[in-house]
């Protein structure tokens, strides 16, 4: 099974690639919105793609705020 962290970083880079940005070396401490070009529209796409890939959607009941890659990984691991 692919670890959740790997899936999330792959999908983040897939979405960056679709929008014409180069791949980013995401770390657990990376602040997604400050350090990368991911904005709210791109994040909405990341969530849909992650649901299609992992079957999980931690935001089903509403948006939960987070800033770093590590926080996002934990949301998915606990979903």
């Amino acid at each position: 099974m692919i670890p959740m962290r790997e899936s999330i970083c792959e999908v983040l880079n897939e979405v960056l690639g679709e929008n014409g940005y180069p791949a980013f070396a995401f770390q657990d401490s990376t602040n997604i919105f400050r350090e990368t070009p991911v904005d709210s529209l791109a994040l909405a796409l990341v969530i849909v793609k992650l649901e299609e890939r992992t079957g999980k959607d931690p935001f089903k009941g509403g948006f939960i705020s987070f800033t770093t890659v590590g926080e996002l990984v934990r949301l998915y691991e606990n979903a």
Partner: protein, 421 residues
């Protein structure tokens, strides 16, 4: 190898005996069948004997049809095929609401994309009238059925063929079935949604010789100039028509001048049998072909003063009125309004795709996420980054689809329309 499913051919010249149908003289009863020959026998004798019939869509599960029969007070359900039909009484009849099922009405279920399907009641005499007008020009034509045959559009095709002594070809499912029917069954007239036409055009090999059609009709969705011109070139129809009709309003606008939209002179023209006007941006219709009313709801009061507000947004541009989109295909993306049909228009203008579908899904981040499925033309390889880059210069950011999927064909509704969510 799996053998392809053959098409079913119905011919008006071969009437079945009404005695073959084990139904009571008194209605109302519900028909639920996948056999077009049984459906057409019921329509033929129903029209003559003014039966009281409800038409369940063939794709409904049995339980849904039985439940609808109970809810609307039907005495039973006719199922099976013409040569092996089965009558099943429904126990626990209940009276239906304020507008009951009356003698001589035909009940059509709405698609119910936004909630429970409603039962629209039409009179037999009115529902067949538009077909009788078309009949004069199209003697004994062979029609291709592209719609759900129990929906208003499908019934118009049947009644037109019946009035002309023509035939109806029911193709095997999918684009391949349609293309095979066009090549092999001498189809002379086709009525379909623009999406269905584009699917057929993509499925017909370039070198395939297509005999010219007597009649090509489009309806059910917004018709643009590009699809009209493509059909004109590929099928060279003697008459190319786009039709605005709905289950509720009936057949309302018929345009055959080869231009998208309809003449603005038709608005507010009280000499026309179907009257048209624009109010609050919506097309409104007063039509003699309208339904009697919804089952269980108060009947629309009679007379010519009855205006029906369609869900379609229109705008007058010079001497023409154009359809913009439906109120239920306007998405709210982060507070900005996006008309799904207009985004599709921008995608098609790239010239990369044989068709595309723009739809929405809900998102916890932006409320609504704009999505697109695109079908590239055979000669083109499309990548998502290239597509997004091309759209970036054509559409504002909020109107650019975020989730984009490259597919080989679009999934359509039973009526050949694009699914919107």
């Amino acid at each position: 190898m799996k053998m392809p499913e053959p098409a079913v051919v119905w011919d008006a010249a071969i009437p079945p005996s009404p005695q073959a149908l084990p139904v009571p003289a008194q209605g109302p009863w519900l028909l639920h069948t996948g056999d077009p020959l049984l459906l057409n026998a019921v329509l033929r004798w129903g029209l003559e004997k003014k039966w009281n019939v409800l038409l369940a869509p063939p794709y409904w599960p049995v339980a849904q049809a039985v439940e609808a029969a109970r809810r609307h007070g039907a005495t039973g359900v006719l199922t099976g095929t013409l040569i092996d039909s089965v009558w099943q009484a429904t126990p626990g009849d209940t009276a239906t609401g304020a507008l009951g099922l009356r003698e001589g009405s035909i009940g059509i279920f709405t698609s119910g994309t936004t909630g429970e399907p409603k039962l629209a009641l039409h009179s037999w005499n009115r529902i067949r009238l538009p077909g009788e007008f078309a009949a004069k020009r199209l003697p004994a034509a062979r029609w291709l059925m592209t719609y759900n045959p129990t929906a208003y559009a499908g019934l118009q095709v049947f009644f037109t063929a019946l009035a002309t002594g023509g035939a109806v070809i029911y193709p095997a499912p999918g684009a391949e079935g349609a293309a095979a029917a066009v090549r092999e069954h001498g189809v002379e007239a086709i009525s379909a949604t623009p999406t269905w036409w584009r699917m057929l055009l993509a499925a017909l090999p370039k070198e395939a010789v297509v005999p010219p059609l007597l009649q090509a009709s489009l309806g059910g969705e917004r018709v643009d100039q590009a699809v009209l011109e493509t059909i004109q070139i590929r099928f060279n129809p003697r008459r190319l028509t786009h039709i605005y009709a709905s289950t509720e309003a009936g057949s309302a606008i018929v345009v055959s001048d080869g231009r998208a939209g309809f003449p603005a002179a038709w608005l507010e023209d009280s000499d026309r049998s179907v009257r048209l006007r624009i109010r609050d941006g919506f097309l409104e219709i007063a039509s003699p072909y309208r339904m009697v009313g919804y089952a269980g709801q108060p009947a629309a009061s009679g007379g010519q003063g009855d205006w029906y507000r369609t869900p379609d947004l229109v705008s007058q541009q010079g001497d023409r009125v154009h359809f913009i989109g439906r109120s239920d295909t306007v998405a709210n993306i982060g507070g900005a309004k996006v008309v799904l049909e207009e985004v599709e228009q921008s995608l098609m203008q790239l010239g990369w795709f044989s068709d595309c579908r723009v739809y929405t899904r809900s998102s916890p981040v932006t409320g609504t996420l704009l999505c697109a499925e695109v079908v590239p033309t055979p000669d083109r390889t499309v990548t998502i980054p290239a597509l997004k880059e091309a759209l970036a210069t054509r559409l504002p950011r909020h109107a650019q689809p975020q989730l984009v999927k490259i597919v080989s064909s679009l999934q359509l509704s039973a009526n050949g329309k694009k699914l919107r969510s």
